[in-house]
């Protein structure tokens, strides 16, 4: 059985050491502000400098380890890992106060409290941690992605191993997760691009997918799925229609058939895997390529400094079609993605559902393959990508706060295709991000019907 758990995460870059979390913990656990009772300790970083830049602040708290040394050190079986929640429980009736557990822990996560006379440790407040709620800077977050793996880890991977996606590509990750959750009663459409390029539909008679899958044209994915669905409805069979399309097959040549299918409310889940250009064929520019981006058709030279015009925002355009369900998602926020995937699948039984998943491309955008998920995360934290969902009744709702974003420049500097940007270009992109958020917020206020 696959196990993954919710966890408290700490970003020292956002922490100013205010201590609100410690006071909240002490209040929750001992009814006092005295930080001695806090199971989270924010400390000055006293680790000897290694020469690399390091945060001045660090955190001591139980990590709820998968292979907990505190548990294995305990001679009295007072510590044990709860396999349903993932937390490490301490049983006061068994503890013999030997403190061997504190020796085993490398994180300062279980410590002797002189006031109460025994060890204390974080129990995550039963999944509703007090410290996270009071953190004014977003340095502490309660990350629920891990539970996704517990939920879907045992489901069959319907994508064969050994496909030829680039190193660090998140599309393969996305497909494996998606197909696991969608199951086998599905027809999958993958128009030309990275997704079939990695072998989804296969080569020379061999396939990369264990469910019915096909190459539509780059231009007609939504229409082909619509026709398939019509015939299954006619013969009384409930089969899921799923498109996994790149941004060119969605917003450029694929747009007419997509818009028509949305207008007709065809029953399908259409997913855009947006890597901001034609990455499969050598990184050419598309309508989804942001202004300033280097691509092989918007190069950088004396007369041109990357793409001259802004990207179109396909998710917003699809929202204006008033589809059954429209949402944006990022693979750095998997629990959010799974929640939206479930909703989109349910909506696709009623009509047209559209999911826009942002897919940073290490090869085409020029960043190290190991940083894909980090780039995804920075897209969201800077508001370059906003996470929201839309239904005709409820209107637009953000699923992650867009307040207090990180500066866009922090995101841009991580990516090679923006390396040449001058300050004017950076300011332009920052203004565009700010304006997008402003208008989405305005729409959030006005779009709900009920």
């Amino acid at each position: 059985m696959a196990l993954g758990y919710n966890t408290i995460t700490f970003n020292p870059d956002k922490c100013d050491g205010c201590g609100d979390c410690m006071r909240a913990c002490s209040q929750a656990k001992a009814g006092t502000d005295d930080p001695v009772h806090s199971r989270i300790q924010i400390l000055a970083n006293e680790t000897p400098s290694t020469g690399e830049q390091q945060s001045p602040i660090e955190m001591a708290m139980c990590r709820q380890c998968g292979d907990p040394k505190c548990v294995s050190n305990c001679p009295a079986a007072a510590l044990s890992k709860d396999l349903s929640s993932g937390t490490i429980d301490w049983d006061s009736s068994k503890c013999v106060n030997c403190l061997l557990c504190t020796v085993g822990c490398a994180f300062g996560g279980i410590t002797y409290n002189v006031e109460v006379g025994h060890v204390t440790k974080c129990d995550t407040c039963d999944g509703n941690p007090a410290c996270v709620k009071v953190c004014p800077h977003g340095a502490l977050e309660y990350n629920t992605s891990g539970s996704v793996y517990t939920r879907i880890g045992d489901k069959e991977d319907l994508f064969v191993p050994g496909l030829s996606a680039c190193q660090g590509c998140n599309s393969e990750l996305l497909i494996r997760h998606t197909l696991r959750n969608v199951g086998s009663n599905v027809v999958v459409a993958t128009p030309p691009g990275c997704i079939p390029g990695m072998g989804t539909v296969g080569y020379n008679g061999k396939t990369g997918t264990k469910v019915p899958v096909f190459h539509p044209l780059l231009t007609n994915t939504a229409s082909m799925l619509a026709g398939i669905k019509k015939q299954y409805n006619r013969v009384g069979r409930d089969v899921t229609m799923l498109a996994l399309a790149g941004d060119g097959g969605v917003g450029d040549v694929g747009f007419q058939s997509l818009s028509g299918a949305a207008e007709r409310n065809e029953q399908q889940l259409f997913m855009c895997v947006d890597n901001e250009g034609y990455m499969n064929t050598g990184m050419q520019s598309s309508g989804s390529t942001p202004a300033g981006s280097w691509t092989s058709t918007t190069p950088v030279g004396k007369e041109m400094q990357g793409k001259r015009t802004d990207a179109k925002n396909m998710a917003r355009i699809m929202m204006m079609h008033n589809c059954e369900y429209v949402a944006t998602a990022s693979l750095s926020f998997m629990d959010d993605y799974y929640d939206k995937l479930d909703k989109a699948l349910a909506a696709s039984k009623r009509g047209f559902a559209y999911l826009h998943v942002y897919a940073p491309c290490p090869t085409g955008w020029r960043f190290p393959a190991a940083e894909t998920i980090e780039v995804c995360r920075k897209q969201v934290e800077s508001n370059f990508v906003t996470l929201w969902e839309f239904t005709p009744d409820q209107g637009l709702q953000f699923t992650r706060s867009v307040d207090k974003p990180a500066p866009l420049a922090d995101y841009l500097k991580q990516i090679g295709k923006y390396r040449h940007l001058n300050q004017d270009q950076i300011d332009h992109l920052q203004r565009r991000v700010d304006n997008q958020v402003k208008s989405l917020k305005a729409f959030e206020q006005t779009s709900a019907v009920s």
Binding site: N204, G205, V211, V213, T219, M224, G227
Partner: protein, 417 residues
């Protein structure tokens, strides 16, 4: 199973198996031909001069005469795409288009034969832009003659109905598995009204037999497979695999010649109307020379030939019904009876400065291993009429070939109208 019976024969009695007389134009006749074939999914987008055809289909669905999914999509490109999807899920599918609509449809259109999907698409033929025009001509259909679709050209409104229904059975034959264009001349057949016979539905049902359009390629969770993996390249199994796909497609096309003949014969035996399925010979057995025609122009050509025969001219007609696959043997059987031909086209082959039917006919004739004097006539472009008088002139010009005259260029029929 009640839908068409209700429309055609309200009471289940002896009249159930009687045909019914209708007065209608070619577009309505095509719609009745579709109704008799009982399609599952139809996708439509209107375009002149096809529009009334899809209006009839919509009306038939609204009235319950046709029990099918009707998809009103946003353009011809999606029409063809939706039908491919439906066919891969097992549906019998139909649409109609022409001219610019066919041009817009081209990308998915050329893929249907490669997927070996039986499908029927009427082409209510229209001349192509530019000059901007909305009237009949064969240029649209001729532009797609190498796309891999079977193409049959109709001469009459009755033939439009009968051929439309037959086309489903031809395309779905397991030895063929190809899409079929039933071509009817825009304006002349689309809007020309005449009395026709509507066959009784039970007879047509027996004629049609069982449907199985996706036994070879399906998008079905109960039979999971990948449709259209990347195939080809210079190494591995790709080259031979691709070549064999193409060859089998050509084989299907050649098999269609036999299946078209068998299907027309069976239609005649059951319904009572026989057609020359590939090539019709008209007053040819004792002819010295012949006109080669295609489509509705043949009616006027027959009248002109009758008049010429009255004047003692030994002229006949070779009418091509099946243009794809090109019926080489049937054409050559006919050509072997004459000493010269005048081929009349309603479209242009720009590269050869002649008509495409002319070019194709000469390509077949080279297998006769004798020189066949010939002339290319081009007329009926953009809705212009090729009258009996025009054909009388064509006969006169063609007769000159017997006296050793040679034409370096095509003769433009309507150029001085």
């Amino acid at each position: 199973m009640t839908t068409i019976e209700k429309a055609i024969t309200p009471d289940i009695d002896d009249s159930h198996y009687q045909s019914k007389t209708l007065v209608c134009d070619g577009n309505e006749a095509a719609a009745w031909g579709v109704a008799l074939a009982r399609p599952d999914v139809m996708a439509i987008y209107p375009i002149t001069p096809q529009s009334s055809l899809v209006e009839y289909l919509s009306q038939f669905v609204a009235e319950g005469i046709i029990d099918a999914e009707l998809m009103n999509v946003e353009g011809e490109h999606s029409v063809m795409s939706a039908l491919q999807g439906a066919a891969l899920a097992g549906a019998r599918t139909y649409t109609a288009t022409c001219g610019p609509g066919l041009a817009f449809m081209f990308e998915p259109y050329i893929r249907t034969p490669g997927l070996r999907l039986p499908m029927v698409a009427s082409l209510v033929t229209r001349d192509t832009l530019t000059p901007q025009c909305v009237w009949g001509g064969h240029q649209d259909a001729m532009l797609v003659k190498e796309a891999g679709w079977i193409q049959m050209y109709c001469e009459t409104v009755q033939e439009v109905l009968d051929t439309t229904t037959m086309a489903f059975r031809i395309g779905e034959h397991p030895d063929v598995m190809l899409p079929v264009n039933v071509n009817s001349d825009g304006n002349y057949l689309s809007y020309g009204a005449t009395g026709i016979q509507l066959p009784a539905a039970p007879l047509v049902d027996a004629f049609m037999g069982e449907k199985n359009v996706n036994w070879h390629a399906a998008l079905d969770p109960e039979r999971p497979m990948a449709i259209d993996p990347l195939t080809g390249g210079a190494g591995g199994p790709g080259p031979s695999m691709f070549a064999n796909y193409r060859k089998s497609q050509c084989d299907g096309m050649q098999n269609a010649l036999r299946v078209i003949e068998e299907t027309h014969k069976d239609w005649g035996d059951r319904i009572g109307r026989y057609y020359s399925p590939l090539v019709e010979e008209y007053r040819l057995d004792d002819a010295d020379y012949a006109l080669v025609t295609i489509g509705s122009m043949t009616g006027a050509a027959k009248d002109a030939v009758d008049l010429a025969r009255d004047q003692g001219e030994a002229v006949g007609i070779i009418k091509i019904k099946t243009f794809r696959p090109f019926p080489v043997e049937a054409i050559n059987r006919a050509l072997s009876k004459v000493k010269a031909i005048g081929v009349v086209d309603r479209s242009v082959n720009f590269g050869w400065n002649c008509g495409p039917v002319y070019q194709e006919t000469l390509a077949a004739a080279q297998r006769l291993q004798r020189f066949l004097p010939s002339a290319s006539f081009i007329g009926g472009l953009a809705g212009s009429d090729i009258t009996v008088e025009h054909f009388s002139q064509v006969i006169e010009d063609t007769a000159q070939l017997l006296k050793g005259h040679h034409y370096d260029e095509p003769i433009w029929i309507n150029r001085n109208d």
